[in-house]
Subunit: 248 residues, 2 copies
DNA sequence: CGGAAGCTTGAATATGCTCAACACGGGTGG
DNA sequence: CCACCCGTGTTGAGCATATTCAAGCTTCCG
């Protein structure tokens, strides 16, 4: 039991739903007063979805927002003829939904099995209007997402297929282990080859070939198509063509 | 003389610098109280830059922010080996600068001749902390930029060269005339072929060839390499592969 | 007028795509 | 238990689109 859990247990004002939610600490709920959290949680519901299920449709009017509690959510857009582009991935405890939007403008799907904490639009917006700190937290996340989107634009526009796939693996790896204290790391891919292709602007065949190439060159090893081991994260990083994202 | 100008003239509290600035109305300054505007303007300076001049470097620490008063600013990122990607264009009265960032993370260059209104970092951040409405305005702009970035990711990842060039022209055309009351429109390109190529993730040769193709198919006509006339904006839109951005 | 920068065009090439076959694993049902 | 199937992923061969390299043109400006 961690310190923060113990504190929560002794503090009757923290709602059950929020006890073990990451959004309570690092997510948007981290800036809320006890009374605000209580009020919001009364309106919130936990939602569970299987991998592949749609969460939000492009054209849907926005009736609720959510925090990602567990799993990976895939944001995508499609062209008329069906071509698809994944424009973002959201992990816990990210906030989900286009604030102030009329409609969503993009699709959100469960990439893995996910748990969300869904809250009604009006409840959140009322809270934002009342508490500037919440608006600040949302601004921070939006700025982070914008940075990520622009970083990815470089990948989409200027990198080779090989660099794209390496960049994707590097993204997932560093997300697993942000500090990367260790030079070796392994993880399960949260996306199918098809999703990866749509994220990278490639075909599944090309993605597959580049996986093979990275494997044969010893940069990664693959088990069961989904489990990736990276022996030396630096070597992977050097395969990315390298973006900005410089270590300070 | 417009109503708002007359009002400003009769109101001695509106600083000279701000009299004809778009940011005063549609930009970030639109949410400021008179006293706040006065305080901010005392710290602000108008800055003029020629096309091609660098405004902000990737690695620069952030010491000031700015509003675009006139012209077009190009945001870009480069890979180690020099490959470049334009990740955004900013027009008046957009806000310029990565709020809360340690360094800029991207380059900002004058795409055309530009005028900026530059304010010191501390002055703006103090104002943001004091006035939640300003934070709200910044959040709105950031959300808009995020929408645009994601829209462009589709263009970069999934469109053909021809659709990319059409999408670029459509972007500029609709920016000139957001209502597009008229089906015909003409304008000067604010970017060189090289910048356009870097925006679209193509080479200049491919961009040039697609311009020629669009011209030969009668969708656009070109004068002096820079001046574009679109006879029927709908026809151009249909060449874009079509994104989302649905008219409501 | 001459030179430079920006743009266009052409021919050959390469990178990633398409189409097609096959492999692997997990689940279902005989 | 094995046979079969379906979803997912891999591999190969041929092809298409965009790139590269090279030459020539237009516009601007001294």
């Amino acid at each position: 039991m961690t310190d923060s859990e113990r504190k929560d247990v002794h503090n009757s004002a923290v709602p059950n739903l929020c006890q073990n939610c990451e959004a309570r600490h690092r997510g948007i709920c981290g800036v809320l007063e006890e009374s605000e959290l209580l009020e919001l949680s009364r309106n919130s519901r936990q939602v569970v979805r299987k991998a592949g299920e749609q969460l939000i449709n492009d054209a849907d009017p926005i009736e609720s927002y959510a925090s990602v509690m567990h799993g990976v959510v895939k944001l995508s857009k499609v062209l008329e003829d069906g071509r698809q582009q994944v424009v973002g991935l959201q992990f816990a405890p990210d906030f989900l939904g286009r604030l102030y939007g009329r409609e969503s403008n993009l699709n959100a799907d469960a990439a893995s099995d996910v748990e969300l904490c869904r809250m009604p639009r009006a409840a959140l917006e009322a809270l934002v209007a009342k508490n500037p700190a919440l608006e600040g937290r949302l601004l921070e996340q939006t700025l982070r997402e914008l940075d990520e989107a622009r970083e990815w634009m470089v990948t989409l526009g200027r990198k080779t297929a090989n660099e794209k796939v390496a960049s994707f693996l590097y993204l997932i790896a560093t997300h697993k282990d942000p500090t990367h204290e260790d030079s070796a790391i392994s993880f399960d891919l949260p996306l199918t080859r098809s999703d990866i292709a749509d994220f990278l602007g490639l075909t599944i065949e090309t993605v597959s070939r580049q996986f093979t190439k990275l494997r044969k060159s010893g940069i990664i090893s693959i088990k069961n198509h989904r489990h990736i081991s990276v022996a030396d994260i630096e070597k992977l990083r050097r395969s990315c063509g390298y973006g900005s994202r410089i270590k300070s």
